[in-house]
């Protein structure tokens, strides 16, 4: 029973890895708060894959790709972690003042080939070292792509800090100009997007307010980054927002892969003025 469940979760996680905007499912982490005060502070985070934001209704997010960093750059522990049927959950003890980053990084391979006139998809969870054996001899029309995902959230104890906001220079990333824990309804926020550390112009960024279940319209906004890889957005209302940027290029190290698909997700809390 237990092992079957674990398998189920693993299977779902693999789906998540390949999640692209073409799929309806949305992966998200939702912290109990992004702004906390006090001396002994914790946040608890729900992590799930669902259609509606932010309701855990479909799959849990896998925990083993999630890590947390303290304001000084050291790694923080995920505590009380567990995975249920619809969501994973964990706590982070904010022992330092400043901004923490909690991120899930994924790197997978997707693709298809044709064998004996039939199109087949690569098995889920195919890794670079198993790629060669995953494609049978005689296969034609091989299409391989690398899928790189970053899903991260930011929580701040006391005054916001910038240490964890420094880009890593790998894949699609957000380089905030406005601090992600300093967002106010009615105020404009500016964000810069980077690919491998360089500004990413002309990429699509979708912003969707939470609370989808109780309204008829998605109220999503899709913006394009400008020549500097930047965009500006004025938050219409307070609440949690889901932001998803996507991009693709050919800069992949996977053999036979023709493209790299990148996805960036963050959950942002916008305060009432």
């Amino acid at each position: 029973m237990k092992s079957r469940f674990a398998l189920l979760v693993a299977g779902m996680a693999a789906v998540t890895l390949l999640a692209t905007p073409a799929l309806a499912h949305r992966q998200w982490m939702l912290p109990s708060a992004t702004t906390v005060s006090g001396d002994d502070v914790w946040v608890t985070v729900d992590a799930a894959v669902s259609n509606d934001l932010f309701y855990f209704e479909h799959f849990p997010m896998r925990l083993d790709t999630i890590r947390a960093w303290a304001p000084d750059g050291s790694e923080a522990k995920l505590e009380n972690a567990s995975t249920g049927r619809y969501r994973s959950t964990f706590d982070v003890h904010l022992t330092q003042k400043g901004t923490y980053k909690i991120a899930s990084l994924s790197d997978g391979i997707g693709g298809s080939y044709t064998l004996n006139g039939e199109e087949k998809r690569l098995p889920r969870g195919t890794t670079a070292d198993k790629l060669a054996s995953a494609i049978p001899t005689g296969a034609s029309d091989v299409k391989i792509s690398e899928h790189v995902g970053r899903n991260e959230i930011f929580v701040t104890s006391g005054e916001p800090s910038d240490g964890v906001l420094k880009p890593t220079g790998k894949g699609l990333e957000l380089e905030p100009i406005t601090h992600p824990d300093d967002l106010i309804a009615g105020e404009e926020a500016r964000f810069r997007f980077l690919i491998d550390g360089k500004p990413a112009p002309g990429i699509d960024v979708t912003i969707i307010p939470g609370g989808i279940r109780y309204r008829n319209q998605l109220n999503d906004k899709t913006l394009k980054t400008d020549a500097k890889g930047e965009l500006a957005f004025t938050w219409p209302e307070p609440g949690f927002y889901w932001l998803n940027a996507t991009a693709k290029d050919t800069n992949t190290g996977i053999p036979r892969a023709t493209e790299r698909r990148m996805s960036y997700v963050t959950t942002l809390e916008v305060q009432a003025p």
Binding site: G38, V41, P160
Partner: protein, 179 residues
Amino acid sequence: MKIRYHTVIAGLPLAAFGTGTLALPAQAAGIDLTVTIPRLHVAEYHRPYVAMWIEAKDKPDVRTLGIWYDYDMKKGEGTKWLRDVRMWWRKAGRSLTLPADGITGATRAPGPQKISFTAGRAPLGTLAPGHYELVVEAAREVGGRELVRLPFQWPAKTPQTVRATGNTELGAITAVIKP
């Protein structure tokens, strides 16, 4: 009481200031603030956290005059909810070390609550001449939040009374700007 006292001073001819017979504290420029905490008939009542500060338009730095909160709970647990006084928390609270002398105060009961600030002394200190807003923000556990602004000119030539009233979490607020 201070407000009434001050009215007396204001009514005196200017020459009176030179006599040295008046009580000195009353001559000091400053702000007498009355914040009315409304009496609410709710199932679960907790006294609100109240922050008071001075800000100038388009200037990011603000001066906190006071924060009334549960500062004496064990393990500093009362600080957990300071962020719910969210405008103050963003503008000033998160960069302060609390409790802070002259700023931290206990929560106060429903009714008019008086507090006075003297120019040149913490927490008011010195203010450059100009137009300011005194802001009072209240946030109540399991209740709501409200923010009231009182615009004023500093320094005042004669005592200026500024009034504003909240609708839900704050009642009448009066600031007397003393020259």
